[in-house]
């Protein structure tokens, strides 16, 4: 990472810390904001957060590793989260997942080579009455069928 980029990231994190509060209780909000903007929380960002909150960097890493929506490695520009819990599963989510994998040429848990799409499984999205469902960059899509899902995926490619 260039020094210039580092400096601007440091400044950004300083702003987040002053916005949410200079204490450990702001960790979820600060890391959530970094994740939202960059798609992951880099090692440098983790160290900066730790320095400003006066905690050990490993504690920041430990926190990130606990939550499935926080990442310490770069992800694709678009995050697709497919629900695999029972109600979606009963309505054919596994079939849709298989078709999406084929269409993108990657498995769930992987990112496309051009870094545009990451596929992840997630547990119950709370959309069981209009299953199957998936989240794309935080936006919800429901009552999916293969055709619908492929159309959404192809717009991300």
């Amino acid at each position: 990472m260039l020094t210039l980029e580092k400096n601007s990231l440091s400044e950004e994190i300083e702003e987040l810390v002053s916005l949410y509060g200079e204490n450990r209780g702001s960790l979820l909000e600060i890391l959530g904001a970094i994740e939202k903007k960059y798609g992951y929380i880099s090692e440098f960002a983790q160290q900066e957060v730790a320095r400003l909150l006066n905690i050990h960097p490993v504690e920041v890493y430990s926190f990130i590793s606990f939550f499935s929506f926080l990442h310490s490695k770069p992800q694709g520009r678009n995050m697709v989260r497919m629900c695999k819990t029972i109600a979606c599963n009963m309505k054919g989510a596994d079939n849709i997942s298989a078709v999406i994998e084929k269409e993108l040429g990657i498995k769930f848990g992987e990112t496309t080579k051009n870094r545009r799409v990451t596929l992840e499984y997630t547990n119950c999205l709370g959309m069981c009455d209009c299953a199957p469902a998936m989240l794309v960059n935080g936006k919800i899509y429901t009552n999916l069928d293969v055709e619908k899902a492929i159309k959404i995926i192809n717009e991300l490619k």
């Binding site: 450990r24 909150l53 430990s62 939550f67 499935s68 819990t85 009963m90 989240l135």
Partner: protein, 405 residues
């Protein structure tokens, strides 16, 4: 294509979905003494709607009685139980009930700060909730000196980051404090040592949504609905094999059979009550009543028809628990993995009955030895599905066991 837009259809129901005008509960509460509100709440016998069923009035009384410079009220909107989506409907369509309930709660227990812990999966609701809070501030239902009184209260929304266990109140508090979402030992309970060590009430979204109705219409009125031990109504989130899935407000005490008729379920083989951590009830139990005293649920009702393979259903549940166990205590971390292994062995026909019995014993051990509700309830579906569907599961001895249906 997105359905994040609010369903314009107005819902009907005896309590939660009954007539209510935004702010009425707050105005009424301010005309009452705190003790009167607590009395009405106690009279209503309202119990926690998240699933555990702890009397709400006890939580509020203990926190109200605590002396502390700060107190907190947390709205638990980390709805993660498979098959539950009632809180999403409440937050999208009835935010006035939830937020008015929080203001009344803050006033009653003497808290100045309210926090909504919204699950990360519901991020798309965040903006609309923020703008609703802003409109409340404009109307002086929130902020400093609410409605000219000397009571000040404000609400912040925190987004979770995808962890089922954070629906457990102490895990939720841990994550708000910037720690891994691992449940605490209890006691001390949050009512005396909660968020940042201050007395804290953690209530489910639906519990808080019932409060304005109770304040406006009295605890006696609330008690008219439901049964003696399960008063009021419940929002049931119905999904699976039925023609009309969705959220239904029905009085407690309704039988499973009656509910199945309402949602137009046909050829039903089994009903999972209480989500993955609940129990699986076969046909012979369809006359059981939904309520804290019989088939308890936080609202999740998943319907399975004759075509479903119950072993695959169980496998889906066990995979869920293996992923969502926080890993802090051994019975839950290792136990769920062992139960899943067991399901996989049954799937392949590679098991003995003494092995299955050992796993059931392990399940019972997990129920008593796990630290929090996750590990204490995850063996429920394992035990109830293997028990209630043994003919189906063990007759085929592994054959035809590879599809949900």
């Amino acid at each position: 294509m997105s359905t994040s837009a609010v369903n314009p259809k107005k819902r009907t129901g005896p309590v939660i979905f009954s007539e209510y005008n935004s702010g009425d509960g707050i105005k009424k509460a301010f005309s009452l003494k705190r003790e009167d509100i607590l009395f009405e709440l106690k009279e209503s016998k309202l119990k926690g709607r998240g699933g555990a069923g702890f009397p709400t009035s006890s939580k509020w009384m203990l926190t109200a009685a605590a002396t502390s410079e700060k107190k907190f009220l947390i709205c638990n909107a980390d709805e993660g139980e498979p098959g539950t989506f009632k809180d999403r409907v409440l937050l999208q369509e009835y935010p006035e009930l939830v937020f008015d309930g929080m203001v009344i709660g803050g006033y009653t227990i003497g808290a100045k700060y309210g926090i909504v812990y919204l699950r990360g999966e519901y991020e798309y609701i965040y903006e609309s909730l923020q703008s609703y809070l802003q409109s409340m501030r404009k109307r002086n239902f929130l902020g400093n000196n609410i409605l000219g009184s000397n009571f000040s209260f404000d609400i912040k929304i925190h987004l979770g980051a995808g962890a089922y266990v954070c629906g457990e109140e102490t895990a939720l508090i841990e994550s708000l404090e910037g720690e891994r979402g691992e449940p605490r030992n209890r006691p001390p309970y949050p009512v005396n040592t909660g968020y940042m060590g201050y007395p804290t009430v953690v209530n489910n979204v639906e519990t808080l949504a019932a409060v304005p109705h109770i304040v406006c219409k009295s605890g006696k009125w609330f008690k008219k609905f439901g049964t003696d031990k399960s008063t009021g109504s419940k929002l049931f989130s119905v999904s699976g094999d039925c023609n009309k899935p969705g959220v239904y407000e029905l009085p407690w005490g309704i039988t499973i059979r009656e509910l199945l008729n309402i949602v137009e379920a046909e050829n039903t083989k089994a009903v999972q009550v209480g989500g993955a951590s609940g129990i699986c009830i076969p046909k012979s139990g369809f006359d059981r009543k939904l309520g804290y005293e019989d088939a308890a649920t936080g609202g999740s009702v998943i319907v399975f028809n004759e075509k479903r393979n119950m072993l695959q259903v169980l496998k889906n549940f066990m995979e869920f628990f293996v992923e969502e166990s926080c890993g802090q205590c051994t019975p839950c971390r290792i136990g769920n993995v062992k139960l899943l292994e067991g399901v996989e062995k049954i799937e392949k026909g590679n098991y003995t009955f003494s092995y299955i019995n050992t796993l059931k014993e392990l399940g019972n051990t997990m129920k008593v030895a796990s630290k929090c509700g996750l590990g204490q309830s995850s063996p429920n579906s394992f035990i109830s599905i293997l028990e209630n569907f043994k003919d189906e599961i063990f007759k085929s001895n592994g054959a035809n066991n590879d599809r949900v249906g």
